[in-house]
Symmetry: C2
Subunit: 477 residues, 2 copies
């Protein structure tokens, strides 16, 4: 029955990057389209990636003192309207529930697009004294935003995420929390997703609805576009005032607390695909790969091959998430299949290898073939997984560096934006008008004001007035 | 600042069981009511219980070969209507989304009350050959049913659950899966929740909408009422036919597959509360307790007490989920607080104990005080946790046995139902009329036809005709 399934082929990246992306998400069996327009089915292989992300990140949240809670999925319209900027930002893109069973609701409710209003409503009940602060909460859930155009993982009407919501006695504490969580995101992206990110602050135009400050981590995809990969917001006391949340401080006076929120979503899976993938399919960073090493037996009908492969599986299962594919497909079919699925290491073992006491390990990231004594496999696998991770990170970093350009005036800006995919570093005076003009004339948006500032010019790239900040600009997902 | 918070007091069970229940769920800080009618906020302590349930159960699902997926939360109306019995069962109690942003939807969608229709829609895309079967899927999510009256954990408009959905080449395989998962639920309830359950089949009247057979585990609460704690359904090929799912079998002929679904929900938390709780609050089975042992230092200002308590914490953290409460509340306040929260073991340590090298461990289930040498604590804790679990199970089992009665005729049935809270075992002819009459005259519903049958009479308790089965009857949540 070998080759009953055909080897899957995909569009090449250079030919059509968008098509390459959808080929990968479907052929690696990450998602299936559903009858629910704009919503996707996340299949076992895709969901297992998200579970790995959740497990690692949840551990990082708990280590920093956060607790998980669960809020309702609905928000009554009057609650959503409580904070002015917030409702303006979200009301146009929510899904409205108007009927329960056969009855029309007295007040319609939206499916949460984000849960600030629900958390505030709860805080008002449970916060009375300085002893009740801070509350460091998080929830893992899905939210709904009624997008017009959708793409798997990048923009869908329902998406999975975590949303952290914290409340503090002082603005300083809340600000420190906002930065701490941005750092957690950056550490997660770089260490576990092998994805370099730029940390910075959003301009006022790009801020979250209701936030005083929004911080972001921005990653560069294969095609040079930016992907905002995680955001952390400082709210000041705006929400607390709108919801009437107060507490008695240590001096027995009424005070208003300060809040934050922060989130990452299944967009991260899109980021992984577009950072590491290639023309053979997905390439997964080992930390979040559902299968880290797959054993493919060669000439498995020959005596001793399957026994040896099984013994190897038992051995390496102690050190990684491993799988043995002993199905009746050909080795060639299996090689293509696990390349498509981005399994970091493939282990080939056949009669000749066994006779020599060896097997061949093939790295997915650079196709390097390494002969490893079978007896040393379980000590070598963790080293090789670490090498794959480092290889992926360095390759992505080099690409970002090669695709980052400086612009000193509008001419350079427009030329670079048009001809060189990537990030553009340029100075900015801080005026919204210039930001709008850059969007209109060069088609770029401000990605962030990076924490690591560098003066590349004295003047704003747009108006020529004295510059306030160096910004990253680019096209974005 | 000791006693700034008052010791919490709750209604006694005997005085008002329903009030006792709501006192426990709020004062143990499991939930908070929200502005969204009929929906609840699950607070960190409550959610941590659910996370423990999820972790253990998810492991059991994966061991039996199941994979997690994620389906959309919406179901277009036409999709919900595809299977006749199913839509009749659920359509009257769903929440309808009619608008996305400012636009009216072309077709309204409900928020999933359960996801059979979504899984079928997906199976139709991905199942072609016998090689694609079985699919053993599960998802952890929340669902919405527009209930009129709600109670925390027991019945709420939104609730969290897992729903397993599987599809098989043969009816036999699907039936075996249905029973296997019921057994997983029973094992989980008895082993990890210390909650004895009766396994059996539902009558036709009590079946899930669209199922050929529904199996259930039924537990008895403190007040003698039954709580259906998990169900497993065999669908035959009804859904597959309604959705046009077919596959090519090994003989290259088109065939129709067979399906199952099975679920447990946050109702289990209600079951834990009403099985083990007492007038001092919650009593948690150790396996799912967020904190398994709490150390309460006595006279903690005295030299060496906090140091010893901290050393003990470091020691026992290796063997259980432990906490040290070194806040400035009084020991008495702390005792009451952790009894309310149902922490299985409390460890008291003061200057006199330390001088003797001992501490005092108090079991939450029976208040037994055990003097334990500090040096032996980390070996004794696991034993004591096991003893608490066994103690809880035996107490619940004895209560169920004491509160289970037999009825041979309607007079006995009505008298028992009126005067003796608990389960009633009685024979049944199998006719729906008798089942309806028992509901009307005695106020009881059939809980299940237990797998362990026993002939307690030859005649139906209602009509006197020859009996087919022995059933458990009772009042239920």
């Amino acid at each position: 029955m070998a080759n009953e399934k055909m080897v899957k082929s995909i569009t090449s990246m250079d030919e059509d990057f968008a098509k390459w992306y959808t080929d990968v998400v479907t052929k690696a069996e990450l998602i299936d389209y559903s009858s629910v327009k704009g919503c996707m089915i996340i299949r076992p292989y895709g969901w297992a990636i998200w579970e790995n992300i959740q497990r690692i990140m949840d551990g990082m949240f708990k280590e920093t003192g956060h607790e998980n809670v669960s809020m309702p999925m609905f928000i009554p319209e009057s609650l959503l309207q409580r904070e002015k900027d917030h409702v303006e930002g979200f009301a146009p893109e929510v899904a409205w529930v108007t009927h329960g069973g056969e009855e029309k609701l007295e007040e319609r409710m939206c499916v949460r697009p984000t849960s600030e209003t629900l958390f505030c409503d709860h805080y008002k009940n449970i916060i009375h004294s300085w002893r009740d602060l801070p509350k460091l909460y998080n929830q893992w859930c899905s939210v709904v935003r009624w997008e017009k155009t959708t793409r798997p993982f990048l923009r869908s009407r329902e998406f999975h995420w975590q949303e952290g919501h914290t409340i503090h006695a002082t603005a300083e504490e809340a600000k420190a929390e906002t930065i701490q969580m941005l750092n957690v995101y950056a550490e997660f992206a770089e260490k576990y997703l092998a994805m370099p990110v730029i940390k910075g602050q959003k301009t006022e135009k790009e801020r979250f609805a209701g936030a005083v400050n929004t911080y972001t981590i921005e990653a560069m995809m294969h095609d040079g576009k930016a992907l905002q990969s995680g955001t952390s917001h400082f709210f000041g006391d705006g929400f607390a005032k709108a919801f009437g949340i107060q507490f008695t401080d240590k001096d027995n006076k009424l005070a208003t607390p300060f809040q934050t929120s922060w989130g990452v979503s299944t967009r991260l899976i899109g980021a992984i695909i577009m950072t590491h993938g290639d023309d053979n399919g997905l390439v997964l960073p080992p930390a979040i790969a559902p299968v880290q090493a797959v054993i493919v037996p060669i000439a498995s009908h020959k005596e001793g091959v399957l026994e040896t492969a099984n013994a190897m599986l038992g051995d390496i299962k102690k050190v990684c998430r491993a799988k043995l594919d002993d199905s009746d497909q050909t080795p060639g079919w299996k090689f293509a299949e696990y390349e498509m699925k981005g399994v970091p290491l493939r282990i080939e073992v056949g009669p000749r290898d066994i006779a020599e006491g060896n097997c061949v390990v093939v790295r997915r990231d650079n196709r390097e073939k390494i002969v490893v004594p079978i007896s040393e496999l379980s000590t070598r696998i963790p080293e090789l997984l670490a090498a794959v991770n480092e290889g992926l990170y360095q390759k992505a970093l080099a690409r970002r560096e090669n695709m980052t350009f400086d612009a000193h005036n509008m001419e350079e800006m427009i030329d670079t934006a048009e001809n060189k995919p990537g990030f553009i570093r340029a100075m900015w005076c801080g005026d919204r008008e210039c930001e709008d003009a850059l969007k209109e004339k060069a088609g770029v948006t401000s990605r962030c004001i990076p924490f690591e500032q560098e003066t590349i010019d004295g003047k704003c790239v747009c108006c020529g007035k004295p510059a306030k900040h160096m910004l990253y600009w680019g096209k974005a997902y």
